[in-house]
């Protein structure tokens, strides 16, 4: 520890800390533009100048390491004058167009010029103007406002890992530019909007739709992937205006994927607002009582063995729990939440969770990624791996992954069966030797293979044999990509007592054996749309996406911004979304549909409102009752024998990051991204 004085106040900071950190420890706020806690230090804005005794000039506190017995002053006239000088220079070429700037009201430059800015300008020459750049459909640029802090450049280099931005030319001519015009390809590009301390980079979809001080802030969670990033949803006049990440070091640090940030406009497109039923092969609107009556009559006439239900990517726990109770009461056991036909085991929590925890990625020293595309399936988590990799001493091995994961790794190829190959096994064994915190990430993506169960079992055996599972460390992780999946598995929305799995439901539908199929927001259910004609299909969801049109009954529900609902992230961390806007038309929370159906048939469900429902869930599943936290799950050893895998090639290279759920498919922003970014990607890859 190093002792020093800040404004006559003694503070102690660890060795290697910067003067800025020491000042903060002493409670002094230092103005800054280029410095950011999670990025490397650039020291180029000069706003954080402080006076250090015996130093002839003021020093940039963000880049100056502390030394013993330093005497720092932050409130002297010299410091004030220096900062005012820097501010005057920064404002020389700044357009001062705050009234028409979206950053206005939450702008670092605006705030700090209040304290350090002159009230009038002394500059009489012409200001410089910079041509705006094309950063794609998500980021709007007004480059004349740029003060060249290079936060965006550093973010792209360090966190996102796609080296797409750079500062070209120098001095007066300096400009921030993308490697190639046409848009940034990174999945995390939206974060540079938050990082930009001025209005140079702002959100394109949000442009001129609201002013920052009018917005109502609501804390919620992101359900576009399974990471469970914490977000803040800004609402104005009953409309969602934008989504920003909220800081949570345990999950998303302060980043958010582009999908989670920009898919909100899908919430107002293609929505279902009233129930429909099919009358002479046409869907006609009806009221709830008629729709429910038809369903009840149908159910009463049908053998429960011929009834099935599949839940989707955005289904909350409340719905799956209530639905499960309902189906149990009418003896239907063909229920499944694994709509992507995954063969993930359903009995032990440690089989499907990201057991090590996202936070612990920061300390791993060996990583083996199998059968997934973390960059597109869990972009924020992938950037955490990259940040760990950048600090050094992390070896990464991969099997069946794309080759552009934003960090370097040794690939074992695209064939999953090589896991059974002796030389490969020896290589893996040698790879994990002497590792303190080994990590294996097994993708849910590869488990959709027909031999998924065997793959899962084999990886489990490898983990057990190589000491990856210890009493103090569990390095076996499954990477799920759907927000609903862990919740569904946690409350057991899976076939029981010999019920059909999603795959069997699909086959039975194809063979016309199935009579009634409930699709609970299950637009991603991997089934041929023509087969839906073979059964009476009840679609429950909030978007007229893939299957609503081919259903016999359509029941409208609320989306995640219109209800308080529980989701469990891939670590097993339960979190609530928040009700922000009111229900659309006649839409209701999905769980209430099953409660109503139950009332009409068996009337065994006891809870009547959301809090009673939650109480019932938490009583039955205490592991997800601790909101915001997760408990390490007990490892259940596998007793099953190894099964030789057959050769199967897959690298998950063709993932569409932008459209994975009904909301993102209805979003114009995401459609624009697909149009401009995915299509031009090949040209770009060679540039980056």
């Amino acid at each position: 520890m190093i002792k020093l004085k800040v404004n006559n106040k003694e503070v102690e900071v660890p060795e290697g800390a910067t003067v800025m950190q020491a000042c903060e420890a002493a409670g002094e706020e230092i103005p800054r533009f280029c410095y950011h806690e999670r990025l490397s230090i650039a020291g180029n804005c000069r706003m954080c100048l402080v006076e250090v005794e015996k130093s002839p000039k003021p020093v940039a506190s963000c880049a100056m390491p502390v030394a013993d017995d330093m005497v720092i002053k932050t409130n002297t006239e010299k410091v004030e004058k220096a900062r005012k000088g820097v501010m005057e220079f920064l404002l020389i070429n700044h357009p001062l167009d705050c009234p028409i700037c979206d950053q206005g009201g939450e702008c670092d430059l605006q705030d700090q010029s209040l304290y350090f800015g002159k009230s009038t300008s002394r500059y009489e020459d012409t200001k410089r103007a910079v041509e705006d750049k094309n950063f794609g459909p998500l980021i709007k640029t007004v480059m004349t406002r740029c003060i060249h802090c290079t936060r965006c450049v550093r973010f792209m280099d360090e966190v996102a890992g796609t080296h797409e931005l750079g500062a070209i030319n120098r001095g007066e001519g300096m400009e921030i530019m993308a490697a190639i015009e046409g848009g940034i390809t990174s999945e995390l590009s939206g974060n540079i909007i938050d990082l930009c301390p001025v209005g140079a980079l702002t959100s394109k979809p949000y442009a001129f739709t609201a002013r920052s001080w009018e917005l109502n802030h609501n804390n919620s969670i992101d359900i576009s992937d399974a990471v469970g990033s914490n977000i803040r949803i800004d609402e104005f006049n009953g409309e969602i205006k934008r989504i920003l990440p909220r800081e949570n070091d345990k999950i998303n640090q302060e980043w958010l994927s582009d999908k989670g940030r920009f898919f909100y406009d899908g919430l107002s497109n293609q929505r279902l607002d009233k129930p429909f039923y099919k009358k002479s092969s046409k869907l006609v609107p009806c009221d709830w009582s008629l729709a429910l009556k038809i369903i009840v009559e149908k159910l009463k006439l049908t053998n429960p063995d011929n009834v099935a239900a599949v839940s989707g990517a955005l289904t909350d726990i409340e719905t799956m729990y209530t639905a499960k109770e309902f189906f149990k009461n009418i003896n239907v056991n063909n229920i499944d939440c694994r709509f992507n036909l995954s063969n993930i085991p359903t009995s032990n929590a440690s089989d499907w969770l990201f057991n090590s925890g996202i936070e612990n990625i920061d300390k791993i020293d060996k990583l083996f990624v199998i059968g997934c595309d973390p960059r597109r399936e869990a972009a924020v988590l992938n950037s955490r791996i990259r940040q760990r990799w950048l600090t050094g001493n992390l070896d990464i091995l991969s099997l069946c992954t794309p080759n552009d994961l934003s960090y370097k790794f040794k690939s074992l190829g695209d064939d999953i069966s090589s896991l059974c190959n002796i030389t490969v096994q020896n290589n893996i064994k040698r790879f994990f030797e002497n590792s303190k915190f080994p990590m294996v990430i097994l993708g849910d993506s590869i488990l959709t293979s027909k031999q998924g169960e065997n793959i899962h079992n084999l990886v489990k055996i490898i983990c057990q044999d190589l000491n990856i599972i210890r009493s103090d460390w569990n390095g076996f992780n499954v990477l799920n990509k759907y927000a609903s999946r862990i919740g569904g598995l946690s409350v057991g929305f899976v076939p029981y007592d010999g019920g059909m799995s999603a795959l069997n439901i699909k086959n039975s539908l194809k063979d016309s054996k199935l009579k009634i199929l409930f699709l609970i927001e299950a637009d991603d259910f991997d089934v041929n749309i023509k087969d839906l004609k073979n059964a009476f299909v009840i679609y429950i969801g909030h978007h007229g996406d893939r299957y609503a049109g081919s259903s016999d009954i359509v029941l409208p529900t609320t989306a995640f911004t219109e209800k308080k609902s529980l989701f469990v992230n891939l670590e097993g961390r339960p979190q609530f979304t928040k009700k922000i806007t009111s229900n659309l038309g006649k839409a209701v929370d999905a769980w209430k549909i099953f409660k109503a159906l139950d009332q009409k048939i068996s009337d065994k469900i006891k809870f009547n409102n959301h809090s009673e429902l939650l109480k019932s869930i938490f009583e039955n599943y205490p592991s997800i009752s601790n909101i915001g936290n997760y408990v390490a799950q007990k490892w259940i050893k596998t007793n099953k024998k190894k099964v030789l895998l057959t050769s199967e090639k897959n690298n998950f290279n063709t993932n569409n990051f932008y459209q994975t759920c009904s909301i993102s498919r209805s979003s114009e922003n995401m459609a624009n991204c697909v149009k401009t970014i995915l299509k031009s990607k090949k040209v770009k890859d060679e540039f980056i």
């Binding site: 080296h163 931005l165 750079g166 500062a167 070209i168 030319n169 120098r170 490697a179 980056i688």
Partner: protein, 198 residues
Amino acid sequence: MNLTEKSKFENFKFSKENSFLIDNILKKYPANQLGSAVMPLLDLAMRQCNGWIPEAAMKEVGRLINIPFIKVYEVATFYSMFNLKPIGKYFIQFCTTTPCWLNGSDDLLEACKKYLKIKCGETTEDGLFTLKEVECLGACVNAPMVQINDDYFEDLNKTNLIKLLNDLKNENKVKIGTQIIGRRGAEPFKNMEKNKNA
């Protein structure tokens, strides 16, 4: 630049001689810090491409030393001595910093422009000359001066400058260095008198 020449630059590869030089350059840097070699490599690329660096060459440099294209581009645009557009056969860098300016570089530059019928930053129609105004080239004792390609031409006045340009145009032999007959290098003019007398 004609079409065949353009396509030559779209598929840039270092020549055999340059590849050999690159191997030696890269040896000077630690294996994980090869990015430091970006400037010598850009210089080689510029020499190979007749004095300018096409985008394909920047990509090739980035590939060789394992840094992203945009980082090479940052360096190439930062330094004014890297040309990013094609230039003429003779690249005239005209020094106009104080010592040269005191010795009349402004008038010389005007004369040069008038003779070549171009402005600063332009290339003559025949593709022979490109004119550029630069900061001090460190030959103040022989001011005023210009740099043409790799050579300095010093102690200029209107007559010998126009003669120099004319000689270059007609591919006559030119004298590198000082243009005053009798002066050796940067020796004082007093010495010159003495030498004459001796």
